[in-house]
């Protein structure tokens, strides 16, 4: 396992639903409301806590959106940090168990 491996999981505190390919997310803790674009939605949907972020980016983003892996990885890490700050994603360097409400 690479040292800098990142695992991401969706927080159980949020509500989420896809609308025309874009994800709507609401965090009930503070009623903040977000929508994610198609790329971000793909990462969010793949955030199962078990698949490393780099693997998600390689398999789900680079193939589908024709972007360079390192560039996409850097963007994804920034996006993941942002969503983690809003309590939407949980980030760890270890695999995560899925949260249950």
């Amino acid at each position: 396992m690479p040292e800098n491996c990142i695992y991401i999981a969706r927080s159980s505190a949020i509500a989420a639903r896809a609308l025309a390919g874009e994800m709507m997310i609401m965090n009930s803790a503070n009623s903040t409301f977000f929508t994610l674009n198609e790329v971000a939605t793909t990462i969010f949907q793949a955030a199962d806590g078990r698949t490393p972020l780099r693997e998600i980016v390689r398999d789900k983003i680079c193939g589908q959106f024709e972007v360079d892996l390192d560039e996409a990885q850097a963007d994804a890490e920034q996006f993941v940090a942002e969503l983690s700050g809003h309590g939407i994603l949980i980030v760890s360097n270890q695999p995560l168990a899925a949260e249950a409400p």
């Binding site: 949020i14 639903r17 609308l19 009930s28």
Partner: protein, 368 residues
């Protein structure tokens, strides 16, 4: 336009049912004097049936889900239902009288990350609240429950239905809400009982008293804005639609009947016999509701209030036509602005007549 409004408009344009109001029971532990419901159980959906409905709603794109009743906690499986809804990642709101919520229930609601709990409080005076609910000590229990919920950091909205018997108490309830850290909403709408009994309409605040409410900045915000005379409608306005009923919103009764809205008793199908999306997409009734534009309204299309009126197509439907006026809203528009509505002018009235009796949602008989 806020992000939420943008999303709402997008769902409306795409015909996605963004929000659903589901009554899980009509049974209740209170007997409020103004309540329109028949509290007997005529065959509520089972836990498994409701879970299946929730699965279907999630697949259909529903995001905002309101559980109401009756009193939701009369169902012993209510937490199981909410838990399933949260697993499906709905944004959940609960409407309740909160009487059955104690510390443990409040904690569980927080653990389930419910977005908002809306609770009915009729007065800041226990004797007035209890006289309305007909449940002794209900005020004390409800307020205690609100404190439990607030201690858990949950968002609570106090809904204050105004009627003749508590019409002077809204400042006290508003103050109480502030003390409890709860939001406050006010509603002067009283509707007849499900069996058609209109005696409860005597509890309605007379139209002549509405201006006092509509000109109270503590309730409506900017009075100038709220009471501004209507602007003439543009061509684009006349291409518009009344509300989200049937477009991005619908109501499901405890018996599985699907309606365009909780206030729109037009049966469109039953989820025990049909798939939700089949009803939503193909019901002729649902499609008729969503086809009506402002220009199609028989009286209101020529009314100066057409863009600012709160005209409810469901209330218009129970008055006789979903394309016709909703007299209760005509009354509100008149008393809000002082400008007569087309409906009034057509009848040669200088002020509204007493509101027309309304009929509320009735369960649809399911053939054996």
């Amino acid at each position: 336009m806020s992000l939420m409004s943008e999303v709402g408009q997008k769902a409306f344009n795409l015909g996605v049912p963004l929000a659903v109001h589901m009554d899980v029971t009509y049974r209740c532990n209170e007997r409020c004097v103004h309540c329109y419901l028949d509290h007997d159980d005529h065959g509520e959906m089972t836990t498994a049936e409701i879970k299946d409905v929730l699965d279907q709603l999630a697949k259909a794109g529903v995001f905002f889900l309101t559980f109401s009743g009756g009193e939701v906690f009369m169902r012993r499986d209510f937490f199981e239902i909410v838990e399933h809804a949260r697993h499906l990642m709905f944004n959940v709101k609960i409407k309740t009288n909160a009487v059955m919520i104690h510390e443990a229930e409040a904690r569980r609601i927080r653990e389930l990350d419910v977005d908002t709990i809306q609770i009915s409080v009729y007065s800041h005076r226990p004797e007035v609240h209890d006289a309305i609910t007909k449940l002794p000590h209900s005020f004390e229990r409800t307020i205690k429950s609100i404190r439990f919920l607030r201690e858990q950091g949950l968002r609570v909205t106090i809904a204050n239905v105004l009627m003749t018997v508590n019409s002077s108490d809204h400042p006290g309830v508003q103050k109480l809400a502030a003390e409890l850290g709860a939001h406050y909403t006010l509603d002067p709408t009283i509707t007849p009982m499900m069996d058609g009994d209109t005696s409860v309409l005597a509890l309605r605040i007379p139209g002549e008293e509405l201006p006092e409410i509509f000109r109270n900045p503590a309730l409506v915000g900017s009075q100038e804005e709220f009471c501004a005379p209507p602007k003439p409608p543009s061509e684009e306005d006349l291409e518009g639609y009344s509300c989200s009923a049937g477009h991005s919103f619908c109501y499901i009764s405890p018996y599985g009947d699907v309606f365009p809205c909780v206030q729109f008793p037009l049966p469109t199908g039953n989820i025990r016999r049909q798939k939700f999306l089949d009803i939503w997409n193909f019901s002729p009734q649902m499609n008729e509701v969503r086809s009506i534009q402002a220009k199609d309204l028989t009286v209101c299309s020529s009314c100066s209030h057409v863009t600012s009126c709160t005209r409810c197509p469901g209330l218009a439907y129970v008055e006789g036509s979903m394309r016709g006026p909703s007299t209760a809203d005509c009354e509100k528009s008149f008393y809000r602005t002082g400008v007569p509505t087309a409906n009034m002018l057509q009848q040669g009235l200088s002020k509204p007549r007493t509101s027309v009796p309304l009929v509320q949602i009735r369960p649809i008989a399911v053939p054996a």
